[in-house]
Symmetry: C2
Subunit: 295 residues, 2 copies
Protein backbone atom coordinates (compact mmCIF):
# COMPACT_ATOMS: atom_id res chain seq x y z
CA UNK A 1 0.00 0.00 0.00
CA UNK A 2 1.62 3.29 -1.10
CA UNK A 3 0.63 6.35 0.93
CA UNK A 4 0.84 10.05 0.18
CA UNK A 5 -0.30 12.48 2.90
CA UNK A 6 -3.74 11.15 3.75
CA UNK A 7 -3.89 9.29 0.44
CA UNK A 8 -3.72 5.54 0.73
CA UNK A 9 -3.84 3.77 -2.61
CA UNK A 10 -3.97 -0.02 -3.12
CA UNK A 11 -1.49 0.25 -5.98
CA UNK A 12 0.53 -2.91 -5.42
CA UNK A 13 -2.43 -5.13 -4.60
CA UNK A 14 -4.37 -3.99 -7.69
CA UNK A 15 -1.28 -4.35 -9.90
CA UNK A 16 -0.74 -7.91 -8.67
CA UNK A 17 -4.41 -8.77 -9.36
CA UNK A 18 -4.39 -7.49 -12.95
CA UNK A 19 -1.02 -9.11 -13.61
CA UNK A 20 -2.34 -12.47 -12.41
CA UNK A 21 -5.45 -12.06 -14.56
CA UNK A 22 -3.37 -11.11 -17.61
CA UNK A 23 -0.92 -13.97 -17.05
CA UNK A 24 -3.79 -16.46 -16.84
CA UNK A 25 -5.47 -15.03 -19.97
CA UNK A 26 -2.23 -15.08 -21.99
CA UNK A 27 -1.50 -18.64 -20.84
CA UNK A 28 -4.79 -20.00 -22.23
CA UNK A 29 -4.71 -17.97 -25.50
CA UNK A 30 -3.01 -20.08 -28.25
CA UNK A 31 -0.03 -18.07 -29.55
CA UNK A 32 3.34 -18.82 -31.18
CA UNK A 33 5.80 -19.20 -28.31
CA UNK A 34 8.08 -16.35 -29.39
CA UNK A 35 5.10 -13.98 -29.73
CA UNK A 36 3.81 -15.02 -26.31
CA UNK A 37 7.25 -14.41 -24.79
CA UNK A 38 7.43 -10.95 -26.40
CA UNK A 39 3.97 -9.99 -25.14
CA UNK A 40 4.74 -11.27 -21.64
CA UNK A 41 8.03 -9.35 -21.61
CA UNK A 42 6.21 -6.13 -22.46
CA UNK A 43 3.13 -6.74 -20.31
CA UNK A 44 4.50 -8.29 -17.18
CA UNK A 45 7.70 -6.32 -16.67
CA UNK A 46 6.39 -3.82 -14.17
CA UNK A 47 4.61 -0.53 -14.59
CA UNK A 48 2.38 1.43 -12.25
CA UNK A 49 -0.86 -0.14 -13.62
CA UNK A 50 -2.69 3.15 -13.08
CA UNK A 51 -5.28 2.45 -15.78
CA UNK A 52 -6.40 -0.96 -14.47
CA UNK A 53 -6.58 0.57 -11.00
CA UNK A 54 -8.82 3.33 -12.37
CA UNK A 55 -11.10 0.71 -13.95
CA UNK A 56 -11.36 -1.12 -10.66
CA UNK A 57 -11.91 1.91 -8.42
CA UNK A 58 -14.46 3.39 -10.85
CA UNK A 59 -16.32 0.09 -10.92
CA UNK A 60 -16.36 -0.06 -7.13
CA UNK A 61 -17.35 3.63 -6.82
CA UNK A 62 -20.40 2.86 -8.97
CA UNK A 63 -21.34 -0.10 -6.76
CA UNK A 64 -19.77 -2.89 -8.84
CA UNK A 65 -17.70 -5.86 -7.74
CA UNK A 66 -13.95 -6.13 -8.48
CA UNK A 67 -14.46 -9.25 -10.65
CA UNK A 68 -16.75 -7.24 -12.95
CA UNK A 69 -13.87 -4.84 -13.63
CA UNK A 70 -11.17 -7.39 -14.46
CA UNK A 71 -11.78 -7.87 -18.21
CA UNK A 72 -11.77 -4.11 -18.76
CA UNK A 73 -8.75 -3.67 -16.49
CA UNK A 74 -6.80 -6.24 -18.51
CA UNK A 75 -7.93 -4.69 -21.80
CA UNK A 76 -6.82 -1.21 -20.71
CA UNK A 77 -3.36 -2.41 -19.73
CA UNK A 78 -3.03 -4.27 -23.04
CA UNK A 79 -3.91 -1.14 -25.03
CA UNK A 80 -1.63 1.04 -22.90
CA UNK A 81 1.30 -1.36 -23.31
CA UNK A 82 0.69 -1.75 -27.06
CA UNK A 83 0.94 2.03 -27.37
CA UNK A 84 4.22 2.13 -25.43
CA UNK A 85 5.76 -0.65 -27.53
CA UNK A 86 4.91 1.11 -30.80
CA UNK A 87 5.88 4.57 -29.47
CA UNK A 88 9.32 3.23 -28.57
CA UNK A 89 10.04 1.95 -32.12
CA UNK A 90 13.01 3.40 -34.04
CA UNK A 91 10.70 5.15 -36.54
CA UNK A 92 8.80 6.74 -33.63
CA UNK A 93 10.49 7.88 -30.35
CA UNK A 94 13.44 5.49 -30.87
CA UNK A 95 13.72 4.71 -27.18
CA UNK A 96 16.00 2.09 -25.61
CA UNK A 97 14.66 2.11 -22.06
CA UNK A 98 11.17 1.43 -20.72
CA UNK A 99 10.10 0.55 -17.20
CA UNK A 100 13.80 0.34 -16.36
CA UNK A 101 14.56 -2.39 -18.96
CA UNK A 102 15.42 -2.55 -22.68
CA UNK A 103 12.41 -1.70 -24.85
CA UNK A 104 10.81 -4.65 -26.63
CA UNK A 105 12.42 -3.97 -30.03
CA UNK A 106 15.84 -3.87 -28.29
CA UNK A 107 15.05 -7.05 -26.35
CA UNK A 108 13.79 -8.89 -29.49
CA UNK A 109 13.72 -7.12 -32.85
CA UNK A 110 11.72 -4.46 -34.67
CA UNK A 111 9.43 -6.84 -36.58
CA UNK A 112 8.50 -8.67 -33.39
CA UNK A 113 7.83 -5.39 -31.57
CA UNK A 114 5.50 -4.25 -34.36
CA UNK A 115 3.63 -7.58 -34.40
CA UNK A 116 3.51 -7.97 -30.62
CA UNK A 117 2.07 -4.44 -30.34
CA UNK A 118 -0.55 -5.29 -32.97
CA UNK A 119 -1.39 -8.50 -31.13
CA UNK A 120 -1.77 -6.72 -27.79
CA UNK A 121 -4.35 -4.41 -29.35
CA UNK A 122 -6.27 -7.38 -30.75
CA UNK A 123 -6.00 -9.24 -27.44
CA UNK A 124 -7.43 -6.23 -25.63
CA UNK A 125 -10.64 -6.45 -27.64
CA UNK A 126 -10.66 -10.22 -27.36
CA UNK A 127 -10.48 -10.25 -23.57
CA UNK A 128 -12.94 -7.37 -23.24
CA UNK A 129 -15.56 -8.77 -25.63
CA UNK A 130 -15.32 -12.37 -24.46
CA UNK A 131 -15.14 -11.74 -20.70
CA UNK A 132 -17.36 -8.67 -20.24
CA UNK A 133 -19.79 -8.96 -17.29
CA UNK A 134 -22.65 -9.60 -19.73
CA UNK A 135 -23.26 -10.14 -23.45
CA UNK A 136 -25.28 -6.92 -23.61
CA UNK A 137 -22.43 -4.90 -22.07
CA UNK A 138 -19.73 -6.38 -24.32
CA UNK A 139 -20.62 -4.27 -27.36
CA UNK A 140 -20.90 -1.01 -25.40
CA UNK A 141 -17.53 -1.63 -23.73
CA UNK A 142 -15.92 -2.33 -27.12
CA UNK A 143 -17.30 0.94 -28.53
CA UNK A 144 -15.71 2.84 -25.61
CA UNK A 145 -12.36 1.09 -25.93
CA UNK A 146 -12.18 1.42 -29.72
CA UNK A 147 -13.09 5.07 -29.72
CA UNK A 148 -10.55 5.87 -26.98
CA UNK A 149 -7.85 3.87 -28.75
CA UNK A 150 -8.43 5.84 -31.93
CA UNK A 151 -8.31 9.13 -30.00
CA UNK A 152 -5.06 8.03 -28.35
CA UNK A 153 -3.50 7.22 -31.73
CA UNK A 154 -4.74 10.57 -33.05
CA UNK A 155 -2.93 12.11 -30.05
CA UNK A 156 0.29 10.39 -31.09
CA UNK A 157 -0.10 11.90 -34.54
CA UNK A 158 -0.82 15.38 -33.10
CA UNK A 159 2.26 15.00 -30.89
CA UNK A 160 4.79 13.56 -33.31
CA UNK A 161 3.56 14.45 -36.82
CA UNK A 162 1.74 17.71 -36.12
CA UNK A 163 -0.58 19.12 -38.74
CA UNK A 164 -2.17 21.95 -36.73
CA UNK A 165 -3.39 25.09 -38.51
CA UNK A 166 -0.84 27.95 -38.10
CA UNK A 167 -3.46 30.00 -36.26
CA UNK A 168 -3.91 27.54 -33.35
CA UNK A 169 -2.19 28.94 -30.19
CA UNK A 170 0.43 26.75 -28.44
CA UNK A 171 -1.74 26.07 -25.34
CA UNK A 172 -4.63 24.89 -27.52
CA UNK A 173 -2.22 22.59 -29.39
CA UNK A 174 -0.83 21.22 -26.14
CA UNK A 175 -4.29 20.54 -24.72
CA UNK A 176 -5.39 18.85 -27.95
CA UNK A 177 -2.33 16.59 -27.76
CA UNK A 178 -2.82 15.74 -24.08
CA UNK A 179 -6.60 15.26 -24.26
CA UNK A 180 -6.05 12.68 -26.98
CA UNK A 181 -2.70 11.12 -26.18
CA UNK A 182 -3.04 10.48 -22.44
CA UNK A 183 -6.53 11.71 -21.64
CA UNK A 184 -8.50 9.37 -23.88
CA UNK A 185 -7.29 6.13 -22.28
CA UNK A 186 -7.62 7.43 -18.71
CA UNK A 187 -11.16 8.59 -19.46
CA UNK A 188 -11.87 5.22 -21.05
CA UNK A 189 -10.49 3.31 -18.03
CA UNK A 190 -12.86 5.13 -15.69
CA UNK A 191 -15.86 4.82 -18.00
CA UNK A 192 -15.24 1.10 -18.63
CA UNK A 193 -15.15 0.55 -14.87
CA UNK A 194 -18.37 2.50 -14.31
CA UNK A 195 -20.13 0.81 -17.24
CA UNK A 196 -19.00 -2.64 -16.05
CA UNK A 197 -20.79 -1.85 -12.77
CA UNK A 198 -23.95 -0.78 -14.59
CA UNK A 199 -23.50 2.84 -13.42
CA UNK A 200 -26.47 5.24 -13.58
CA UNK A 201 -26.14 8.31 -15.88
CA UNK A 202 -25.33 10.74 -13.03
CA UNK A 203 -22.61 8.43 -11.72
CA UNK A 204 -21.16 7.91 -15.19
CA UNK A 205 -21.12 11.69 -15.78
CA UNK A 206 -19.33 12.36 -12.50
CA UNK A 207 -16.74 9.67 -13.13
CA UNK A 208 -16.22 10.95 -16.69
CA UNK A 209 -15.55 14.52 -15.47
CA UNK A 210 -13.20 13.16 -12.79
CA UNK A 211 -11.37 11.20 -15.47
CA UNK A 212 -11.01 14.20 -17.76
CA UNK A 213 -9.49 16.26 -14.95
CA UNK A 214 -7.00 13.61 -13.77
CA UNK A 215 -6.16 12.72 -17.38
CA UNK A 216 -4.92 16.25 -18.05
CA UNK A 217 -3.32 16.41 -14.60
CA UNK A 218 -1.45 13.15 -15.25
CA UNK A 219 0.21 14.67 -18.29
CA UNK A 220 1.05 17.99 -16.58
CA UNK A 221 2.74 15.98 -13.81
CA UNK A 222 4.58 13.90 -16.43
CA UNK A 223 5.82 17.09 -18.12
CA UNK A 224 7.05 18.46 -14.78
CA UNK A 225 8.76 15.17 -13.85
CA UNK A 226 10.53 15.08 -17.21
CA UNK A 227 12.18 18.40 -16.30
CA UNK A 228 12.82 17.81 -12.60
CA UNK A 229 13.80 14.13 -12.29
CA UNK A 230 16.60 11.84 -13.51
CA UNK A 231 16.33 8.88 -15.92
CA UNK A 232 17.41 6.57 -13.09
CA UNK A 233 14.57 7.74 -10.86
CA UNK A 234 11.93 7.64 -13.64
CA UNK A 235 13.04 4.33 -15.17
CA UNK A 236 12.81 5.99 -18.60
CA UNK A 237 14.80 8.65 -20.45
CA UNK A 238 14.38 12.05 -18.73
CA UNK A 239 14.78 15.54 -20.25
CA UNK A 240 13.64 14.22 -23.62
CA UNK A 241 10.87 16.81 -24.09
CA UNK A 242 13.27 19.77 -24.01
CA UNK A 243 15.82 17.95 -26.19
CA UNK A 244 13.13 17.28 -28.76
CA UNK A 245 11.76 20.85 -28.45
CA UNK A 246 8.31 19.54 -27.46
CA UNK A 247 5.36 21.62 -26.33
CA UNK A 248 4.98 21.06 -22.56
CA UNK A 249 3.30 22.77 -19.62
CA UNK A 250 6.61 23.81 -18.01
CA UNK A 251 7.80 25.19 -21.37
CA UNK A 252 4.61 27.24 -21.81
CA UNK A 253 3.78 28.22 -18.21
CA UNK A 254 6.94 27.61 -16.17
CA UNK A 255 7.26 25.01 -13.43
CA UNK A 256 5.44 26.89 -10.65
CA UNK A 257 2.33 27.66 -12.69
CA UNK A 258 2.35 24.04 -13.94
CA UNK A 259 2.27 22.88 -10.31
CA UNK A 260 -0.64 25.25 -9.60
CA UNK A 261 -2.47 23.73 -12.56
CA UNK A 262 -1.95 20.27 -11.02
CA UNK A 263 -3.61 21.46 -7.78
CA UNK A 264 -6.51 23.05 -9.66
CA UNK A 265 -7.15 19.87 -11.66
CA UNK A 266 -6.96 17.71 -8.53
CA UNK A 267 -9.68 19.85 -6.92
CA UNK A 268 -11.79 19.71 -10.09
CA UNK A 269 -11.49 15.91 -10.08
CA UNK A 270 -12.58 15.60 -6.44
CA UNK A 271 -15.51 18.00 -6.97
CA UNK A 272 -16.75 15.96 -9.93
CA UNK A 273 -17.13 12.90 -7.68
CA UNK A 274 -19.74 14.62 -5.45
CA UNK A 275 -22.69 12.52 -6.79
CA UNK A 276 -20.91 9.29 -5.82
CA UNK A 277 -20.46 10.03 -2.11
CA UNK A 278 -18.08 8.03 0.10
CA UNK A 279 -17.86 5.10 -2.37
CA UNK A 280 -15.62 7.37 -4.46
CA UNK A 281 -13.13 8.03 -1.64
CA UNK A 282 -10.48 5.71 -3.19
CA UNK A 283 -10.74 7.66 -6.48
CA UNK A 284 -10.10 10.92 -4.55
CA UNK A 285 -7.11 9.33 -2.82
CA UNK A 286 -5.77 8.19 -6.20
CA UNK A 287 -6.11 11.70 -7.61
CA UNK A 288 -4.06 13.04 -4.71
CA UNK A 289 -1.47 10.32 -5.17
CA UNK A 290 -1.24 11.11 -8.90
CA UNK A 291 -0.83 14.82 -8.12
CA UNK A 292 2.05 14.09 -5.71
CA UNK A 293 3.81 11.25 -7.53
CA UNK A 294 7.52 11.67 -8.27
CA UNK A 295 7.88 9.03 -11.02
Amino acid sequence: METCGTASVPLEEAAADVEAYLAEWLAVRPLPENLRAAIEYAMLGGGKRIRPLLVRLSCEAAGGRTEEAMAAAAAMELVHTFSLVHDDLPAMDDDDLRRGRPTLHRHTNEAMAILAGDAMLGLAFEVLASRAPSRELAGALCVELASATDDMIAGQVYDTLPAFPESLPPMARLQTIHRHKTGALIRCACRLGALSAGARDGELDGITRYAEAIGLMFQVVDDVLDVTQTSEHLGKTAHKDAQQGKLTYPALLGIDASRDEVERLHKEACDALEPLGPAAEPLRALSLWLARRTR
Copy 2:
Protein backbone atom coordinates in the same frame (compact mmCIF):
# COMPACT_ATOMS: atom_id res chain seq x y z
CA MET B 1 -19.67 -7.88 -62.99
CA GLU B 2 -16.62 -10.17 -63.50
CA THR B 3 -17.37 -13.61 -64.93
CA CYS B 4 -15.42 -16.84 -64.95
CA GLY B 5 -16.92 -19.80 -66.77
CA THR B 6 -20.40 -19.99 -65.27
CA ALA B 7 -19.25 -17.92 -62.27
CA SER B 8 -20.69 -14.46 -62.15
CA VAL B 9 -19.50 -12.44 -59.17
CA PRO B 10 -20.71 -8.94 -58.21
CA LEU B 11 -17.15 -7.89 -57.40
CA GLU B 12 -17.18 -4.30 -58.62
CA GLU B 13 -20.63 -3.47 -57.29
CA ALA B 14 -19.80 -4.85 -53.82
CA ALA B 15 -16.43 -3.08 -53.79
CA ALA B 16 -18.09 0.24 -54.66
CA ASP B 17 -20.64 -0.26 -51.86
CA VAL B 18 -18.08 -0.97 -49.14
CA GLU B 19 -15.85 1.87 -50.36
CA ALA B 20 -18.76 4.32 -50.14
CA TYR B 21 -19.61 3.04 -46.65
CA LEU B 22 -15.96 3.34 -45.53
CA ALA B 23 -15.59 6.81 -47.05
CA GLU B 24 -18.71 8.00 -45.23
CA TRP B 25 -17.57 6.46 -41.93
CA LEU B 26 -14.07 7.96 -42.18
CA ALA B 27 -15.54 11.36 -43.08
CA VAL B 28 -17.62 11.56 -39.88
CA ARG B 29 -14.90 10.14 -37.56
CA PRO B 30 -12.85 13.05 -36.07
CA LEU B 31 -9.18 12.49 -37.02
CA PRO B 32 -6.09 14.64 -37.59
CA GLU B 33 -6.15 15.54 -41.28
CA ASN B 34 -2.80 13.92 -42.10
CA LEU B 35 -3.86 10.67 -40.38
CA ARG B 36 -7.17 10.73 -42.23
CA ALA B 37 -5.35 11.23 -45.54
CA ALA B 38 -2.99 8.33 -44.80
CA ILE B 39 -5.86 6.00 -43.92
CA GLU B 40 -7.82 7.02 -47.00
CA TYR B 41 -4.75 6.48 -49.18
CA ALA B 42 -4.36 2.95 -47.85
CA MET B 43 -8.08 2.09 -47.70
CA LEU B 44 -9.49 3.64 -50.82
CA GLY B 45 -6.74 2.95 -53.35
CA GLY B 46 -8.22 -0.15 -54.91
CA GLY B 47 -8.03 -3.78 -53.93
CA LYS B 48 -10.27 -6.72 -54.75
CA ARG B 49 -12.39 -6.32 -51.58
CA ILE B 50 -12.81 -10.09 -51.35
CA ARG B 51 -13.36 -10.06 -47.59
CA PRO B 52 -16.21 -7.52 -47.56
CA LEU B 53 -17.79 -9.44 -50.44
CA LEU B 54 -17.57 -12.63 -48.37
CA VAL B 55 -19.27 -10.88 -45.45
CA ARG B 56 -22.06 -9.72 -47.69
CA LEU B 57 -22.64 -12.98 -49.56
CA SER B 58 -22.50 -14.99 -46.31
CA CYS B 59 -25.04 -12.63 -44.76
CA GLU B 60 -27.35 -12.98 -47.76
CA ALA B 61 -26.85 -16.79 -47.89
CA ALA B 62 -28.09 -16.95 -44.28
CA GLY B 63 -31.15 -14.87 -45.13
CA GLY B 64 -29.85 -11.46 -44.03
CA ARG B 65 -30.11 -8.09 -45.78
CA THR B 66 -27.08 -6.35 -47.33
CA GLU B 67 -27.33 -3.40 -44.88
CA GLU B 68 -26.89 -5.80 -41.96
CA ALA B 69 -23.52 -6.85 -43.39
CA MET B 70 -22.03 -3.38 -43.98
CA ALA B 71 -20.48 -2.71 -40.54
CA ALA B 72 -18.75 -6.09 -40.58
CA ALA B 73 -17.72 -5.64 -44.23
CA ALA B 74 -16.09 -2.30 -43.43
CA ALA B 75 -14.41 -3.73 -40.31
CA MET B 76 -12.95 -6.66 -42.29
CA GLU B 77 -11.48 -4.38 -44.94
CA LEU B 78 -9.99 -2.13 -42.23
CA VAL B 79 -8.30 -5.09 -40.52
CA HIS B 80 -7.10 -6.50 -43.85
CA THR B 81 -5.63 -3.16 -44.92
CA PHE B 82 -4.04 -2.54 -41.50
CA SER B 83 -2.26 -5.89 -41.88
CA LEU B 84 -0.99 -5.01 -45.37
CA VAL B 85 0.31 -1.60 -44.22
CA HIS B 86 2.26 -3.12 -41.33
CA ASP B 87 3.47 -6.10 -43.40
CA ASP B 88 4.93 -3.69 -45.96
CA LEU B 89 7.04 -1.81 -43.37
CA PRO B 90 10.85 -1.79 -43.76
CA ALA B 91 11.28 -3.94 -40.62
CA MET B 92 8.82 -6.50 -42.05
CA ASP B 93 8.55 -7.32 -45.79
CA ASP B 94 10.08 -3.94 -46.80
CA ASP B 95 7.84 -3.61 -49.83
CA ASP B 96 7.58 -0.53 -52.10
CA LEU B 97 4.56 -1.52 -54.16
CA ARG B 98 1.00 -2.37 -53.10
CA ARG B 99 -2.15 -2.39 -55.20
CA GLY B 100 -0.05 -0.90 -58.01
CA ARG B 101 0.99 2.19 -56.03
CA PRO B 102 3.74 3.14 -53.53
CA THR B 103 3.16 1.51 -50.13
CA LEU B 104 1.94 3.86 -47.38
CA HIS B 105 5.34 4.26 -45.70
CA ARG B 106 6.82 5.22 -49.10
CA HIS B 107 3.94 7.60 -49.78
CA THR B 108 4.17 9.22 -46.30
CA ASN B 109 6.74 7.99 -43.77
CA GLU B 110 7.35 5.04 -41.50
CA ALA B 111 5.92 6.61 -38.32
CA MET B 112 2.71 7.53 -40.10
CA ALA B 113 2.39 4.04 -41.59
CA ILE B 114 2.76 2.47 -38.13
CA LEU B 115 0.20 4.83 -36.59
CA ALA B 116 -2.24 4.67 -39.50
CA GLY B 117 -2.12 0.85 -39.32
CA ASP B 118 -2.80 0.97 -35.59
CA ALA B 119 -5.67 3.40 -36.17
CA MET B 120 -7.24 1.19 -38.85
CA LEU B 121 -7.33 -1.71 -36.38
CA GLY B 122 -9.00 0.50 -33.77
CA LEU B 123 -11.44 1.89 -36.35
CA ALA B 124 -12.40 -1.65 -37.34
CA PHE B 125 -13.63 -2.39 -33.83
CA GLU B 126 -15.21 1.04 -33.56
CA VAL B 127 -17.31 0.65 -36.72
CA LEU B 128 -18.19 -2.96 -35.90
CA ALA B 129 -19.21 -2.34 -32.28
CA SER B 130 -21.06 0.91 -32.90
CA ARG B 131 -22.90 -0.08 -36.09
CA ALA B 132 -23.61 -3.79 -35.56
CA PRO B 133 -27.20 -4.80 -36.48
CA SER B 134 -28.06 -4.98 -32.76
CA ARG B 135 -26.56 -4.25 -29.36
CA GLU B 136 -26.71 -7.94 -28.45
CA LEU B 137 -24.79 -8.92 -31.61
CA ALA B 138 -22.08 -6.27 -31.19
CA GLY B 139 -20.18 -8.14 -28.51
CA ALA B 140 -20.30 -11.49 -30.32
CA LEU B 141 -19.07 -9.87 -33.55
CA CYS B 142 -16.20 -8.21 -31.69
CA VAL B 143 -15.15 -11.56 -30.16
CA GLU B 144 -15.00 -13.06 -33.67
CA LEU B 145 -13.04 -10.17 -35.14
CA ALA B 146 -10.59 -9.92 -32.26
CA SER B 147 -9.90 -13.61 -32.19
CA ALA B 148 -9.36 -13.76 -35.97
CA THR B 149 -7.11 -10.68 -35.87
CA ASP B 150 -4.94 -12.30 -33.22
CA ASP B 151 -4.76 -15.52 -35.25
CA MET B 152 -3.79 -13.52 -38.34
CA ILE B 153 -0.98 -11.76 -36.45
CA ALA B 154 0.13 -15.14 -35.09
CA GLY B 155 0.26 -16.25 -38.75
CA GLN B 156 2.57 -13.34 -39.57
CA VAL B 157 4.86 -14.45 -36.77
CA TYR B 158 4.80 -18.10 -37.94
CA ASP B 159 5.59 -16.87 -41.47
CA THR B 160 8.30 -14.29 -40.82
CA LEU B 161 9.77 -15.13 -37.41
CA PRO B 162 9.26 -18.89 -37.31
CA ALA B 163 9.64 -20.71 -34.03
CA PHE B 164 8.38 -24.17 -35.05
CA PRO B 165 9.69 -27.27 -33.30
CA GLU B 166 12.36 -29.01 -35.46
CA SER B 167 10.15 -32.10 -35.65
CA LEU B 168 7.22 -30.39 -37.44
CA PRO B 169 7.17 -31.44 -41.16
CA PRO B 170 7.23 -28.68 -43.83
CA MET B 171 3.61 -29.26 -44.95
CA ALA B 172 2.34 -28.97 -41.37
CA ARG B 173 4.32 -25.73 -41.00
CA LEU B 174 2.91 -24.35 -44.24
CA GLN B 175 -0.67 -25.19 -43.28
CA THR B 176 -0.21 -23.63 -39.83
CA ILE B 177 1.04 -20.44 -41.48
CA HIS B 178 -1.77 -20.31 -44.06
CA ARG B 179 -4.56 -21.26 -41.65
CA HIS B 180 -3.56 -18.34 -39.45
CA LYS B 181 -2.18 -15.75 -41.86
CA THR B 182 -4.85 -15.77 -44.58
CA GLY B 183 -7.38 -18.30 -43.35
CA ALA B 184 -8.36 -16.60 -40.09
CA LEU B 185 -9.64 -13.37 -41.66
CA ILE B 186 -11.47 -15.16 -44.50
CA ARG B 187 -13.16 -17.45 -41.98
CA CYS B 188 -13.99 -14.41 -39.87
CA ALA B 189 -15.48 -12.52 -42.85
CA CYS B 190 -17.88 -15.38 -43.58
CA ARG B 191 -18.80 -15.90 -39.94
CA LEU B 192 -19.38 -12.19 -39.32
CA GLY B 193 -21.71 -12.12 -42.31
CA ALA B 194 -23.64 -15.17 -41.15
CA LEU B 195 -23.82 -13.92 -37.55
CA SER B 196 -24.99 -10.48 -38.73
CA ALA B 197 -27.89 -12.29 -40.42
CA GLY B 198 -28.72 -14.23 -37.24
CA ALA B 199 -27.73 -17.54 -38.89
CA ARG B 200 -28.89 -20.83 -37.34
CA ASP B 201 -26.17 -23.23 -36.07
CA GLY B 202 -26.33 -25.51 -39.13
CA GLU B 203 -26.00 -22.55 -41.48
CA LEU B 204 -23.12 -21.08 -39.48
CA ASP B 205 -21.35 -24.47 -39.51
CA GLY B 206 -21.72 -24.84 -43.28
CA ILE B 207 -20.49 -21.31 -43.93
CA THR B 208 -17.55 -21.85 -41.55
CA ARG B 209 -16.45 -25.03 -43.37
CA TYR B 210 -16.83 -23.25 -46.73
CA ALA B 211 -14.67 -20.42 -45.39
CA GLU B 212 -11.96 -22.76 -44.13
CA ALA B 213 -11.73 -24.44 -47.54
CA ILE B 214 -11.60 -21.25 -49.60
CA GLY B 215 -9.22 -19.63 -47.09
CA LEU B 216 -6.63 -22.32 -47.71
CA MET B 217 -7.44 -22.32 -51.44
CA PHE B 218 -6.92 -18.55 -51.59
CA GLN B 219 -3.37 -18.94 -50.31
CA VAL B 220 -2.53 -21.90 -52.58
CA VAL B 221 -3.69 -19.78 -55.55
CA ASP B 222 -1.59 -16.85 -54.27
CA ASP B 223 1.46 -19.10 -54.03
CA VAL B 224 0.91 -20.33 -57.60
CA LEU B 225 0.39 -16.79 -58.95
CA ASP B 226 3.59 -15.62 -57.27
CA VAL B 227 5.48 -18.19 -59.38
CA THR B 228 3.56 -17.88 -62.65
CA GLN B 229 2.71 -14.16 -63.01
CA THR B 230 4.61 -10.86 -63.38
CA SER B 231 4.69 -7.93 -60.92
CA GLU B 232 2.94 -5.76 -63.53
CA HIS B 233 0.06 -8.19 -63.80
CA LEU B 234 -0.27 -8.72 -60.02
CA GLY B 235 0.17 -5.05 -59.02
CA LYS B 236 2.62 -6.24 -56.34
CA THR B 237 6.13 -7.70 -56.36
CA ALA B 238 6.10 -11.21 -57.92
CA HIS B 239 8.56 -14.07 -57.36
CA LYS B 240 9.23 -12.85 -53.83
CA ASP B 241 8.49 -16.18 -52.16
CA ALA B 242 11.26 -18.03 -54.00
CA GLN B 243 13.70 -15.13 -53.52
CA GLN B 244 13.01 -15.19 -49.78
CA GLY B 245 13.18 -19.00 -49.69
CA LYS B 246 9.64 -19.22 -48.30
CA LEU B 247 7.63 -22.38 -47.76
CA THR B 248 4.96 -22.49 -50.48
CA TYR B 249 2.65 -25.07 -52.05
CA PRO B 250 4.48 -25.00 -55.42
CA ALA B 251 7.82 -25.39 -53.60
CA LEU B 252 6.55 -28.42 -51.63
CA LEU B 253 4.21 -30.08 -54.18
CA GLY B 254 5.08 -28.59 -57.57
CA ILE B 255 2.73 -26.43 -59.63
CA ASP B 256 0.52 -29.21 -61.05
CA ALA B 257 -0.25 -30.81 -57.68
CA SER B 258 -0.87 -27.33 -56.24
CA ARG B 259 -3.47 -26.74 -58.96
CA ASP B 260 -5.10 -30.10 -58.13
CA GLU B 261 -5.27 -29.00 -54.49
CA VAL B 262 -7.09 -25.84 -55.61
CA GLU B 263 -9.73 -27.95 -57.37
CA ARG B 264 -10.12 -30.25 -54.37
CA LEU B 265 -10.60 -27.31 -52.00
CA HIS B 266 -13.11 -25.64 -54.34
CA LYS B 267 -15.20 -28.82 -54.32
CA GLU B 268 -14.93 -29.09 -50.53
CA ALA B 269 -16.14 -25.48 -50.23
CA CYS B 270 -19.16 -26.08 -52.47
CA ASP B 271 -20.07 -29.30 -50.66
CA ALA B 272 -20.01 -27.51 -47.29
CA LEU B 273 -22.74 -25.13 -48.49
CA GLU B 274 -25.27 -27.96 -48.96
CA PRO B 275 -27.41 -26.95 -45.92
CA LEU B 276 -27.89 -23.44 -47.32
CA GLY B 277 -29.45 -24.42 -50.66
CA PRO B 278 -29.77 -21.99 -53.57
CA ALA B 279 -29.26 -18.89 -51.35
CA ALA B 280 -25.59 -19.90 -51.26
CA GLU B 281 -25.18 -19.92 -55.07
CA PRO B 282 -23.24 -16.61 -55.07
CA LEU B 283 -20.78 -18.08 -52.53
CA ARG B 284 -20.23 -21.08 -54.86
CA ALA B 285 -19.66 -18.72 -57.78
CA LEU B 286 -17.17 -16.75 -55.71
CA SER B 287 -15.27 -19.93 -54.82
CA LEU B 288 -15.00 -20.76 -58.52
CA TRP B 289 -13.87 -17.22 -59.31
CA LEU B 290 -11.23 -17.41 -56.55
CA ALA B 291 -10.02 -20.78 -57.88
CA ARG B 292 -9.62 -19.34 -61.40
CA ARG B 293 -8.33 -15.82 -60.62
CA THR B 294 -5.07 -14.74 -62.26
CA ARG B 295 -4.21 -11.82 -59.93
